[in-house]
Amino acid sequence: MGQTGTAGGTAAGVAAAEYRPHSDAVWRSLIAGAPLLAVWWLVYRQLAPLAAWVTYGLLSLRAGRLARSAEFFTFEAPKVLMLLVLVVFGVGVIRSFFTPEKTRRILAGRRESAGNLLAAGLGVVTPFCSCSAVPLFLGFVTSGVPLGVTFSFLISAPMVNEVALVLLFGLFGWKVAALYAGTGLIIAILAGWTIGRLRMERHVEEWVYSGLASDQTQPDVRMEWADRLRYGRRAVREVVGKVWPFVLAGIAVGAGIHGYVPEGFMASIMGKGAWWSVPLAVLIGIPMYSNAAGVIPVVQALLGKGAALGTVLAFMMSVIGLSLPETIILRKVLKPALIAAFVGIVGLGIVIVGYLFNLLL
């Protein structure tokens, strides 16, 4: 048994390592990939004129509300989907280098501060699904990853994710995407650090620390480049396959708002003037676990109608970063006080980010 030594691991690796490694697969992929990428780029460059042609030529709409909505949709929908495919593939390949097991090894025994920083960074590139939050939490804390460092990981992993970043980049531009990623990381680092400072270990369910430590670690899976590319393709199938209806629905609603909601409509509700808009946006956002993918286009359209960027960022962070289902799952290992601290500290961080950007921009 175990003749291949491929036990464990996420990823294509398990099945893949059983195929003979052949490096010409890389060359074949590159040779096939380069023209694909070129075609992608050419099409991507032509999306704006294409959308105009569909709207005014093919559908022969007259300039007006309907045309504005139609042009918005026919431009944004293919743009965002194309970006998603490319980025999710790239991130998938990057993630094939980072397994939760490896991340845990890196973080085990780290001191706080540096550990929080590292954990937040690794949260971005380690494959993570909130459905595995509990086993991951257990695996981390029982193998010596400090509680606060574990939280830095658990906060950054869902919040700074590639789908949110693609949508922000596609609909708002790189500056907003970078702001989101940067502030998301800072919140993850500081919130995790704060939880560590508060010494909340006793608010973890007792059984967690009682002799659960597993000496069973899963050995790393050797992956060839062909496996990594396969991993990327599977990420595209799984992630894009799941979010595309939400993206399209979101962009469709956004398109409707673009064409039909009057300018300045949102200024009174989500504008800079209303001080309560940021905390309200966060409160509304926490129980929402609507696929963030569907929320961002709607929010982008609202921004055009006078909503303030800080409020909008805060809303998105609370939708993506603090999800009700995840906190309910975590209740299995955390006592209510720690859950409250987690939601409270992260929520507060998001509110501060919201105010900060409303003030600065």
Partner: protein
Amino acid sequence: MLKIKVYGPGCARCKETEEIVRRAVAETGVEAEVEKVSDIQALARAGILTTPAVAVNDVVKVSGRMPKLEEVKAWVDRRL
């Protein structure tokens, strides 16, 4: 006889994984005992970080995704 454990706290993909494993066992005709483990403490003891996960004779074969039917067949058949 093989002992196959399917780890998962009850998500949809975990149930589907169990079905795949059972089908693989049935189709290959291998003598195996399939057990679904949904207790979180047992998961932690086995060192599982991401679910669904499948272990054959306590060797973790896949973790964090659903295996394909063909993959599972290869794991169980090789030991015959």
